[in-house]
Amino acid sequence: MGQIIISGILLGGIYAIVSYGLTLIFGVIRVINFAHGSLLMVGMFMAYYLSKGMNLNIYLMMLIVVPLMFILGVLIQKYLLSKVINEPDMQLFVTFGLLLLFENVMLAVTKGEFFSLDMNMGTIPIGSLVLDWGRLINLVAAIVLAILLLLFLNHTKIGWAIRAVSQNRYAAGIIGLRVERLYILAFGLGSACIGIAAVLLTPIYTIFPHVGFNFVIVSFAVVILGGLGSIPGALAGGMIIGLLESLSGYLIAPELNQIVWYLLFLLVLFFRPAGLFGIAGSEEGGVK
């Protein structure tokens, strides 16, 4: 049982780290980013190919992957999404188009093959329990990244501005916040966070063009559960879902491991759309 809880917490770290990018993008720009999973996939392929190509430790690849992903995010917002900023339907169309584009390009490149890093980093025994290094490093990184993001959001002027825009973009404009620029920054930052997640997950998972799909629904669930744009919410939401999945997989049945959190997700979506930790009624209206 202890092992199950450990697995749940480690899995929670994975779900949290894949959700930070989404909560920033979804929370600030309010666009349903269908391309979230495929951005993660692109980041994982970058990390994999760079690490293999340069024969360097995978974790060092953060120095390259994260800036590249930041730039990719900036380009997406600046040249695609900001052109349709007031047309939610078109935004969906754009992010869905990006999903198809990324996945199909990678399918063409990889011809549907699978890639893994053979990194047996070993395990840490604690009494009768075991932790594995890959997931432990990821968990620590998830917590550290949450703290860094919080410091940034709460103690810098840009951080304040991002938070304000995420809560009400209409009000933000006329008190001097440059909404479009902040959106570009938010998408860049969100993508950079996805890049961090991608590097951390590369030693853990097998990489293929649809690998992001396994994380898409769960990260939307984490973000809804934790409240749009909330980093501590994403960390807590990731932990809750990770533990629920692990426990229900063990106690009910592995094939039903996602049912419990999925029900919770639907309940929250319908009855507390601001999330478990958000303030009810914090959703914005239009310009009136």
Partner: protein, 415 residues
């Protein structure tokens, strides 16, 4: 939305459509009574493009072989490629093959999801659908009398798993069948479930203790499967699933430091798992595999010739075993056309139902032939059991198939 934005979007869409759809469309030749036309439906584009192409090479080599030896019924055989990656494409390509290209027979298919709709079109026109590769149960459960599956599918795959446990695995562990404890884990779609259920039933009949655990292959975490399996302390961990879930399952077992005495999987003899776990991680893992290239020439007559002609024509070693399977399946088709003296679906079915070939000793796959009269599945399309040894695949069962001095080595020792 302005003009520029619209153009960008259109560009994006076109790019997408181009990449998704860049298919090698087959060109049509003049109709001639002097040739037998066989349509080959495979995914020649998209995620399975390479596998589709490799599978097609099996047809190509078999056709070359027959044409240089005088052809069939005095005619040359000609293949016509049709690219289908999904159900819609399968339907339109099957229609095209039959109505435009006027093929006599259709064969395929690397992807079961393509085979299923394509067989329905073939059935509509009464054209023979000769299935060499797809293994999904539903393809032959439609009550069609023109769809014959000559290649391996769930029942023989499960049967070989159970037979090999009885014949070589249990003896290697020094245990009797009634002492054996087996945990079956399988992905929960029809593929994994159909195999897992047969394995459970057959092993229980033999007196083994069995627990079966289905799981979701798209899961980001399989630690509950691993922990539930470990709790049972099984002698054998028997798995059916795909590549990515297999890698995750094995890695998570490694992460908690658990390796049971025997791990056996369906088609776990692939290079992707080797990359994920390394030589050491895969060492000793058993797999129910497609007929392997190291099989004995007596069990698989013609396998040497096949390998030579593949190397000559394509300048490399065969990349996947499915090429041999489609090659062997096409040879069986040619024998039946000769026997029936026709390409008519009914006449070929009659001939096929009469065919009785024992396993090993006839075809380069080692397959025998005996159709199930209800489903028209080949009940003797038997895979082999292989074992990972120093990063290589060695056939170890059935004994007649073994082409090297490889012997089964159990129990497994650590990751």
């Amino acid at each position: 939305m302005g003009k520029i934005q619209r153009n960008v979007l259109i560009l994006l869409l076109i790019a997408t459509i181009f990449i998704v759809g860049c298919s090698n469309s087959a060109s049509s030749d003049s109709d001639s009574q002097e040739i037998i036309k066989i349509g080959v439906i495979q995914p020649f584009s998209g995620p399975n493009a390479q596998a589709g192409e490799e599978t097609y090479k099996g047809n190509e080599l078999a056709v070359e072989n027959i044409n240089t030896n005088g052809g069939l019924l005095g005619k040359k055989v000609k293949l016509i490629k049709a690219d289908a990656t999904n159900a819609q494409e399968a339907i339109s390509e099957a229609e095209r093959l039959i109505t435009k290209e006027k093929v006599d027979i259709i064969t395929g298919t690397y992807v079961s999801g393509v085979a299923y709709p394509a067989t329905q079109i073939a059935n509509k026109y009464g054209v023979l659908y000769w299935e060499t590769n797809a293994s999904a149960p539903n393809i032959t459960q439609q009550g069609f009398n023109n769809v014959i599956r000559i290649g391996q599918y769930g029942v023989p795959m499960a049967t070989v798993a159970v037979n090999s446990i009885k014949d070589v695995v249990a003896p290697a562990l020094g245990k009797s069948l009634t002492e054996l404890k087996v945990v079956i884990v399988h992905e929960q779609s029809i593929y994994g479930t159909s195999i897992g259920e047969i394995e459970e039933e057959e092993l229980k009949k033999l007196g083994a203790k069995v627990k079966r655990i289905p799981y979701d292959a798209a899961s980001a975490d399989l630690s509950s499967v691993v922990n539930l399996s470990k709790n049972e302390n099984p002698d054998i961990w028997l798995r059916t699933g795909y590549v990515n879930d297999g890698a995750l399952l094995f890695k998570q077992a490694r992460d908690i430091g658990w390796k049971p005495p025997v791990i056996m999987g369906q088609a776990d003899d692939n290079a992707y798992l080797l990359e994920a776990l390394g030589d050491k991680g895969m060492e000793g893992i058993l797999s129910i595999s497609y007929p392997s290239y190291d099989m004995n020439e007596k069990y698989a007559p013609g396998i040497k010739d096949y390998l030579d002609s593949y190397r000559n024509k394509y300048g490399s070693e065969p990349k996947i075993p499915q090429t041999l399977v489609s090659y062997g399946g096409t040879e069986i088709l040619f024998d039946l056309i000769k026997e029936a003296k026709s390409t008519d679906a009914n006449k070929i079915r009659e001939a096929a139902l009469k065919m009785d070939v024992k396993i090993g000793g006839t075809y380069p796959t080692g397959y025998g032939v005996k159709l199930d009269p209800k489903t028209l599945d080949n009940t003797r399309a038997f895979p082999v059991l292989t074992q990972w040894k120093n990063g290589e695949i060695k056939t170890i069962y059935p004994p007649e198939a073994v082409g090297t001095d490889a012997k089964i080595e159990l129990p497994l020792r650590g990751w």
